[in-house]
């Protein structure tokens, strides 16, 4: 590391000698519309640390400016940020114009904001607050599907896990306000514990190249960004209230933002949602209700030079799992597969009975940053998370009220990052991470632990470098190393231990022999390297090309290693494997971006080869005294994923717009020469929208959503003898459902409420034609159809 710094320092010494940096810029900031002066505007020289703030006369001075071409970024609360490129070959004096949109405080379009992309050579898509508000009552997984290439893998409609280019769970890093979410993300029925309402925008970076966040994000990184505080005395807020017919659900979310001119700020959010049973076109989905309560508080002090931030967030979710999906053995699964309808259909109710989940997640974060003139910015952060997960199965007798799964996960993380951005056209970022995590599985459940007690220690270090080679070429590269250590204490059944061959492979792990069970103490270390190299080529004012190669490593997670036993709510025996290696992914991506005043194109293509790709797949059944249960085992193979994601937005006129979202992925198990299980099929979403600003901002969008049939799927079907009927049947758990086509319509109107408030009314209809369908990536597709028509009314008040 030191050597690299010395080399770069020497390289830059030549730069300094060839530049004269004794000039100054003097200027005045005025309003574009009426020429009035604007005080307290920030004028920053792009890609440097040099800045000034305009005084009460609108004047500012920046000294020690180097000759050459520079770009000034001028920003001010209530104004559209502007950039101006000027050539310095002497002292410069000028007037700079800003468009001042006064009291509106509406979201400035993302084009005008300084949105700093995390990795220049990777596609980064941002969902604005306006887009997120449509999903105020829904989940993160639902909102992310607005992005081409992002789908979801579900357990019903309340548990939605984002899937980026076919990758999900441990292959995706979710960062909530700078905190990497640690919430048992390994399970298909474990959705991320996020309240969308506390975020200002959500960014998705596909692939692992954003190395500042980790070396294992083989699928991608999801960033939930908080509101950026403004340096002005202000107080504003909003409340969203909504109602939906499908599920007779109501939701209410409120947020309040207070900022001070001196730099202090405070954001508070509170959300409550309540859903009853959902309805498919022909019947109610009994026991699919849910309840969610969340609050968050983000306070701090932020100036250009320094700042600190305290963030506290808490979310409590109670989620019902479709009653008909609870099965007691293979017989019940066969009955469900053969039945066109779920075997439990009751009238509508808000009741959440077993099987259900009860999860609470708490985050506390403290961070501090300081800019050092002519060097860069140091950020220090400590965060603590606690996740408590209860899973209740349909149990009998006194055990009815005792959860079958009781996991407590606590994580401490400390990070230090340094951003060197003082040099023109070079940006370095370097950082370290320490993390300690402890998982405790409560034995009071009376059920053998699904995943064991463990302590995990992580340490990581990374560097990323970005270089503006010329006006048209930008290069970035990064390196990261992470060390993971698992200290696990796990009970194995003695019979399982020998059937798995561990008595021969790992006899030294046994620390206590208790007859029918053995206590073992596996200690596993993983070394993970990641590397990224990319370029951005600006072809013209409108077009650019992104090229990136990333190599990333992901160690197996706790479920892949140690799953052991009958997972009641999934009614299958899940078995991990101690012999799993880390996954290693090599991903090449090529993206084409086009943006002009009337259209926006984003075409992402990628090839991802994953060595030792870990997945879980069925492997017949296991016989117990209670009958036969389907058995799923984690295994490892080599995979090849090739795909494209396309997003096109076009404005045909002032009123009419069109957009297209489509994606396809080819996923092959190259070792066994068969398709990979659970991959999203071809999808295409076409939307036509009509806007009329004269009619109270009326906008209406008609969406046609087509999901194809996944024709590439592995055949894991098996024959099973059913004792009850004395027959042998084929259990078909592999065949995906048919393709389907849905229509949706979204309508919005804005009204003024008094002098300072605005009210926005939305009426959305999902699945307009009440089409019956099943989704291949919904684990509950074996038991019931997906959602029928839904009318959603949402009212948002800004004040």
């Amino acid at each position: 590391m030191k050597k690299i710094l010395v080399v770069f320092f020497c390289m830059n010494v030549f730069w300094i000698f060839s530049q004269k940096c004794t000039y100054n810029i003097q200027g005045t900031i005025v309003d574009f519309h009426d020429g009035s002066i604007i005080d307290d505007a920030t004028i920053l020289i792009k890609n440097t640390n040099k800045f000034a703030v305009s005084d009460s006369e609108g004047n500012f001075t920046i000294s020690n400016v180097c000759n050459g071409k520079i770009t000034l970024v001028i920003s001010h609360i209530g104004c559209k940020t502007s950039e101006k490129t000027i050539k310095i070959d002497g002292n410069y004096t000028g007037k700079f114009l800003l468009e001042h949109h006064s009291e509106e405080l509406e979201e400035v379009t993302l084009k005008g904001k300084i949105v700093v992309k995390k990795v220049a050579s990777l596609s980064e898509t941002v969902l604005s607050k306006k887009m997120l508000e449509n999903y105020s009552a829904a989940s993160l997984g639902d909102a992310l599907k607005e992005i081409a290439g992002v789908s979801s893998i579900n357990t019903g409609n309340a548990i939605v896990k984002p899937m980026i280019n076919g990758m999900h769970s441990s292959r995706i890093i979710v960062m909530n306000n700078g905190v990497r979410l640690q919430d048992q993300e390994w399970g298909i029925e474990h959705a991320p514990n996020i309240d969308l309402n506390s975020s200002e925008s959500v960014s998705v970076i596909k692939g692992a190249g954003a190395l500042a966040f980790g070396s294992d994000a083989i699928g991608g990184v999801v960033l939930l960004n908080p509101k950026n505080p403004i340096r002005k005395d202000s107080l504003f807020g909003s409340t969203i209230a909504g109602f939906q017919t499908n599920g007779k659900a109501y939701n209410i979310a409120s947020s309040l933002h207070k900022t001070y001119k001196n730099g202090y700020f405070l954001d508070a959010n509170a959300t409550h949602k309540r859903f009853g049973d959902f309805r498919a076109p022909d019947y109610f989905l009994t026991n699919t209700g849910s309840k969610s309560t969340a609050f968050s508080l983000n306070v701090g002090y932020k100036t250009f030079e320094t700042g600190w931030n305290l963030f506290v967030s808490s979310i409590a979710n109670e989620i019902g799992i479709l009653g008909a999906s609870h099965i007691g053995g293979i017989q019940d699964l066969v009955n469900a597969l053969n039945s066109q309808q779920p075997l439990i259909q009751n009238d509508f109710s808000y009741r959440i009975d077993n099987p259900k989940q009860d999860v609470t997640h708490f985050i506390a974060k403290a961070s501090y940053f300081k800019r050092f003139q002519n060097v860069g910015k140091l950020t220090l952060q400590y965060d603590f998370q606690e996740n408590q997960r209860f899973e209740y199965d349909r149990r009998i007798g006194d055990n009815r009220f005792i959860p079958a799964v009781d996991l407590n996960l606590q994580t401490h993380t400390a990070t230090a990052d340094f951003l060197f951005d003082a040099k023109n056209s070079w940006t370095f970022q370097s950082g370290t991470l320490f993390r300690f995590q402890e998982n405790v599985a409560n034995p009071a459940t009376g059920v053998r632990r699904l995943i064991p007690d463990y302590q995990k220690t992580d340490a990581g270090i990374y560097t990323t470098i970005k270089h503006e080679f010329s006006e048209n070429w930008l290069f970035d590269t990064g390196f990261r190393y992470d060390f993971n250590f698992y200290g696990v204490k796990k009970f194995y059944q003695t019979s399982r231990w020998s059937v798995l061959g561990y008595d021969v492979l790992f006899p030294e792990l046994v620390i206590q022999d208790l007859g029918t069970q053995l206590l073992t103490n596996p200690e596993l270390s993983f070394h993970n390297f990641a590397m990224s190299l990319g370029a951005k080529r600006t072809l013209s004012e409108e077009n650019s090309l992104l090229l990136n190669y990333t190599m990333a490593t992901r160690p197996p997670n706790i479920a892949e290693l140690f799953s052991d036993g009958l997972h009641h709510s999934a009614a299958r025996i899940e078995l991990g494997s101690l012999t799993l290696n880390s996954e290693k992914s090599n991903r090449f991506s090529l993206s084409f971006l086009k943006e002009n005043s009337s259209s926006k194109w984003q075409i992402d293509t990628y090839i991802n080869t994953i060595q030792d790709y870990i997945f879980i797949a069925p492997n017949g059944t296991e016989q117990t005294i209670r009958g036969a249960f389907p058995k799923w085992e984690y295994r490892q193979t080599d995979a090849l994923l090739v795909g494209f994601d396309i997003n096109i937005q076009k404005e045909f006129s002032e009123n009419w717009g069109y957009s297209l979202n489509t994606s396809y992925i080819y996923a092959q198990d190259t070792e066994n020469k068969m398709p990979i299980i659970d991959m999203p099929p071809f999808q295409m979403k076409n939307s036509i929208s009509y806007n009329n600003n004269d009619w109270h901002g009326f906008s209406s969008t008609l969406i046609s959503e087509f999901i194809g049939r996944q024709n590439r799927f592995p055949d894991f079907n098996f024959n099973q003898f059913i004792a009850e009927t004395n027959t042998t049947v084929l259990v078909d758990i592999s065949t995906p459902p048919n393709a389907y086509h849905l229509f949706h319509i979204n309508n919005t109107m804005n009204f003024d409420l008094g002098k300072h408030s605005k009210i926005q009314v939305s009426l959305n209809i999902n699945n307009l034609l009440n089409t019956s369908y099943r989704n291949y990536l919904n684990r509950l597709r074996f038991f019931a159809d997906d959602l029928g028509r839904n009318f959603q009314l949402q009212i948002k008040i800004n004040y």
């Binding site: 007691g328 053995g329 017989q331 501090y368 300081k370 220090l380 400590y382 349909r394 009998i396 007798g397 055990n399 401490h412 993380t413 400390a414 230090a416 320490f434 993390r435 300690f436 402890e438 599985a441 034995p443 459940t445 009376g446 059920v447 053998r448 632990r449 064991p452 007690d453 302590q455 220690t457 200290g487 204490k489 009970f491 059944q493 003695t494 019979s495 399982r496 059937v499 620390i511 206590q512 208790l514 007859g515 029918t516 069970q517 206590l519 036993g565 009958l566 025996i573 296991e622 016989q623 117990t624 005294i625 209670r626 009958g627 004792a723 009850e724 004395n726």
Partner: protein, 185 residues
């Protein structure tokens, strides 16, 4: 600034020096049933036939072991008694007693293939509905077929056919399911 670095290092050290954990507590699955034993005594004399299913490792990988002691006589009525035991304990825990105590929440079902025999219940729970711990088995003509014995927990005894011994509408949780190959001579 300095104090922040100190605080940071302190937190880092704190997180690294994890307290060594105690060993976790073992979980023995409650009310584990390892053995189902059906004893058939021919009325009016003859050889007793015993059917047994045994799975000593519970939810473990070892498959249950089935045993049928001998053939049945044709056109004969047998007095049947069923027991469920936990044989991982010594002496074996007789779970049949618990089943009898909570008789209203349990029912044994006896299903035959190829019409080789029929079963009628000879016991009752506190609501006057059968439990099935004791029953009569009457064989028909010679042949071979299967007997499936199922113990359901919290079945719907009021549903159609359930109290007559037809499992189709019973519901509830399956605690035991055993299939025996029977030969009727």
């Amino acid at each position: 600034m300095k104090k922040y670095i100190f605080l940071f290092s302190y937190l880092v050290i704190m997180s690294l020096t994890s307290c060594s954990s105690e060993d976790p507590e073992i979980v023995n699955e409650e009310e584990l049933i390892t053995t189902l034993r059906v004893t058939l005594t021919p009325q009016g004399g003859g050889t007793t036939v015993t059917l047994q299913l045994q799975d000593l490792d519970g939810n473990g990988p070892n498959a249950p072991v089935t045993n049928v002691s001998g053939p049945l006589q044709a056109n004969k009525t047998y007095t049947g008694v069923t027991q469920v035991l936990n044989e991982t304990e010594s002496p074996a825990e007789n779970i049949t007693l618990e089943v009898k105590e909570e008789g209203y929440e349990h029912q044994f079902f006896y299903t035959f293939s190829n019409s080789i025999a029929t079963a009628t219940y000879t016991d009752q729970d506190k609501n006057g509905r059968p439990i099935g711990i004791t029953f009569n088995l009457t064989t028909t003509t010679a042949g071979i077929g299967n007997l499936t014995v199922t113990l359901r927990h919290e079945p719907n005894k009021a549903a159609s056919g359930v109290s007559a011994g037809i499992i189709t509408n019973a519901g509830g949780e399956t605690d035991v399911e055993a299939t025996f190959n029977l030969t009727v001579n």
